[in-house]
């Protein structure tokens, strides 16, 4: 009963602290809105598989070979997530327009098929297809595209050149009728579609591995900033403990019949409830205002939420056990919370981090919480699948709590 009264007393005090309430509820909401608007396109591109677009200008509009080349490019490009665009705003592209678009940075690459391409090939004349590249484009993207274009060009023109070479040889060495028959057979053979070839390449994924799913902008920012601001409770809690020590209210309570464990728990529970309220409210806004998808098994979010709140208040108690002044509270709590949030992927999404940083994130409770939330919302993990995350968060909470209790002083 005394525990309940201590809890209610602290709830009353916290609800009067407008500054703390604004920090805990309004600030994360503002971050979510602003950063979602700013980064929305980046997240859209993550989930957009046809995201490499290459301009294609065909100045040999009547040529058969250029048509074959373009058809091959489009066929090959489909499986390589490449899109070849021949029009800009419903207007056929020209050389000048394509170069302008690359200069402006709208596109990175363009292929220019010269006029007379097909005729030159037929006449075994040297012909150059221009591959225009933005110098600032990533070579990791350009090189493979260039290679694909070169290969496709070779595949298109190679058989034609071979046929011409055979015909030339037969014309010198074989009777006309026989030469004609052989040429027809060669032409038929070279015209076979790629699917009829003896050797083919088929692209597959390893068994059991599906394509990675990336979070939407809200599936990153809502849990990310919620987690970050949940840990802001650390400063509020530490300040509250400091004030009770400084004002002597702890001393006063220790001479009443309440036990020390009840007094400590009574201090933790209001902040635990506040964390839960924070997470529920922000996720509710995320779902119903921003349309954030909670995944196939949203109940999995509950366990993670409870473990996350436990972790946050335990860290708050740990910091309260060490600090001796308001200055220390501000400094230590702020740095701890911001650094851990950054490492955990709350600010820079893990999908944009290098691999080693995503591993470092798992040394923080924030990293585990974010991964857990996104496992449920993005990757479809069910309730049982959240147990490792809950276990990791509770392990952090227990360690923080044990160290805190061993160092905590009421005076």
């Amino acid at each position: 009963m005394r525990l309940l009264h201590v809890t209610l007393k602290d709830i009353k005090i916290v609800l009067k602290d407008w500054g703390a309430l604004i920090t805990l509820f309004l600030s994360p909401l503002l971050f979510i809105i602003v950063l979602s608007l700013a980064l929305g396109q980046s997240f859209a591109n993550l989930n957009n598989t046809s995201n490499i677009q290459v301009l294609l200008v065909n100045n040999d509009t009547t040529g058969v070979i250029s048509q074959k080349f373009i058809a091959s490019l489009q066929s090959t490009g489909e499986s390589a997530h490449l899109q070849f665009l021949q029009k800009d705003s419903n207007t056929l592209l020209t050389d000048a327009r394509a170069q302008q678009l690359i200069k402006e940075g709208t596109y990175n690459m363009a292929i220019l098929i010269p006029s007379g391409f097909s005729q030159d090939i037929t006449q075994s004349q040297k012909v150059t297809v221009l591959f225009i590249v933005d110098p600032g484009a990533s070579q990791q993207v350009v090189k493979p595209v260039q290679a694909l274009v070169e290969t496709t060009l070779g595949q298109t023109t190679g058989p034609i050149l071979l046929q011409q070479a055979i015909a030339k040889s037969l014309a010198h060495n074989a009777p006309p009728a026989q030469a004609r028959q052989i040429n027809q057979q060669v032409a038929r053979a070279l015209d076979q579609p790629a699917g009829d070839s003896i050797a083919t390449v088929q692209a597959v994924s390893p068994p059991g591995v599906t394509a990675p799913k990336h979070p939407s902008v809200y599936q990153q920012n809502v849990p990310g900033y919620t987690i970050m601001y949940v840990f802001f409770i650390v400063g509020t809690m530490a300040s509250s403990v400091l004030i009770e020590r400084r004002d002597g209210t702890f001393r006063r309570l220790l001479v009443t019949p309440i036990s020390k464990p009840a007094l400590l728990l009574g201090k933790l529970i209001p902040y635990y409830l506040l964390c839960l309220a924070q997470i529920v409210i922000l996720f509710t806004i995320g779902k119903f205002v921003f349309g954030m998808d909670l995944g196939l098994h949203p109940l999995g979010l509950i366990g993670i939420t409870m473990a996350l709140a436990a972790c946050a208040v335990s860290l708050g108690l740990l910091i309260a056990a060490f600090v001796k002044s308001e200055g220390q509270v501000t400094g230590i709590a702020t740095i701890t919370v911001l650094v851990l949030a950054a490492l955990g992927g709350c600010m820079v999404p893990p999908v944009f981090m290098p691999v080693f940083m995503t591993k470092v994130a798992l040394f923080t409770p924030q990293g585990w919480a974010l991964q857990g939330y996104q496992d449920v919302m993005v990757r479809g993990i069910n309730v049982m699948g959240t147990l490792p995350t809950i276990g990791a968060l509770m392990a952090f909470a227990v360690v923080f709590f044990i160290v805190a209790v061993s160092r905590f002083r009421f005076n």
Binding site: M1, R2, K9, R252, P257
Partner: protein
């Protein structure tokens, strides 16, 4: 002011001395804050702890209110051992600490509601006792106002009210009038007298203000350096000084002079002391006299007869301050 209902305590008083302290010691490393303190307090007594800042009064009260255990020694309150039966002791005692230990963001009513609940009070009984305590300290009309709007004296009164809610048998008041305006101070004094008179509440009152303990307390323990220097009623303590103490600064002080002065009828005791305050005086004598006026009439002719010049003269009236000075050589307030 209203009379409180006396709620029978579940913990019955077992002995005649309500508070009994035996050889209490508290050490912090090499520093001894309380050094072999022994005293007892009768039920219904107002007992004073008088001493300067750092004398050990707060530490003593903290031990007796079960805030922390002593290093050595024992104490019982209502027959219950302080350390082994702390839970029963805490139900018997109320504490008004030196700090303003209240929650500034809550109003007076909510503060008292909370502290009352810590003693197991709840429901209508709790609310009734909150209003009774507010009535005692004269804050019923301001009960719902934020504490932040209160004067220092009013905050002190809330601080006191929080110690009364559960009708304690023994109330510890640790310097309850620090920083308080005279009106509030008088109100506090009257409240203490009323609690003692109407409820028979035993009160331990600590202060470094002589006037307060003189006005309120039946018996006074003078504490300095953690030790009990003297313990008695105000009258008997002051009696030690007789008619007071005179400090004579002289330009010389041979043995013959001191013998002649000691022989004077109004001089009870003479002691030669060293003091940097004796400007231009080579000798400073501390004389305990039966009457300051009669002593002067006897001393002056004696000094004239011996050709000794009186360089300085200071007379300490018989009061607790001079008792403290006499016993410790230090002033109550620096």
């Amino acid at each position: 002011m209203i009379a409180l209902d006396i709620v029978p305590q579940s913990a019955a008083v077992k002995t005649e001395n309500f508070l009994s302290v035996q050889n209490l010691v508290k050490r912090y490393g090499d520093f001894t804050a309380v050094d072999n303190l022994s005293f007892s307090v009768q039920p219904g007594e107002i007992f004073g702890l008088l001493g300067p800042n750092g004398a050990g009064k707060t530490t003593t009260m903290s031990i007796l209110s079960c805030l922390f255990p002593p290093t050595r020694g024992t104490a019982t309150i209502g027959g219950y051992d302080l350390v082994r039966q702390a839970k029963q002791v805490k139900q018997l005692i109320g504490v008004v600490p030196q700090d303003l230990a209240i929650y500034p963001t809550l109003n007076a009513y909510d503060n008292l509601l909370f502290f009352g609940s810590m003693y197991g009070l709840h429901g209508k009984a709790l609310k009734r006792q909150v209003w009774e305590a507010l009535e005692i300290v004269g804050l019923t009309e301001k009960a719902r106002q934020p504490i932040t709007t209160f004067s220092g004296g009013m905050k002190r009164r809330v601080n006191i009210a929080a110690g009364l809610l559960h009708h304690p048998r023994l109330l510890f008041l640790d310097e309850p009038t620090v920083g308080v305006d005279p009106q509030s101070r008088n109100y506090i004094f009257e409240s203490i007298r009323q609690l003692n008179r109407e409820q028979g509440m035993t009160i331990i009152y600590s202060s470094h203000y002589m006037e307060e303990v003189e006005a309120l307390c039946n018996r006074i323990a003078i504490i300095d350096g953690g030790q009990l220097v003297a313990l008695d009623t105000k009258e008997k303590l002051i009696e030690q000084l007789g008619g007071g103490i005179m400090y004579l600064g002289l330009n010389q002080g041979e043995a013959e002079l001191i013998m002649q002065l000691e022989a004077l009828p109004s001089i009870e005791h003479i002691e030669q002391i060293a003091s940097a305050a004796a400007a231009n005086a080579s000798v400073l004598l501390k004389c305990q006299v039966t009457s300051a006026q009669r002593a002067l009439l006897e001393i002056i002719p004696t000094l004239n007869g011996l050709g000794v010049q009186l360089v300085s003269l200071e007379i300490s009236e018989p009061n607790l301050e001079s008792v403290f000075l006499h016993l410790t050589g230090k002033k109550l307030r620096d």
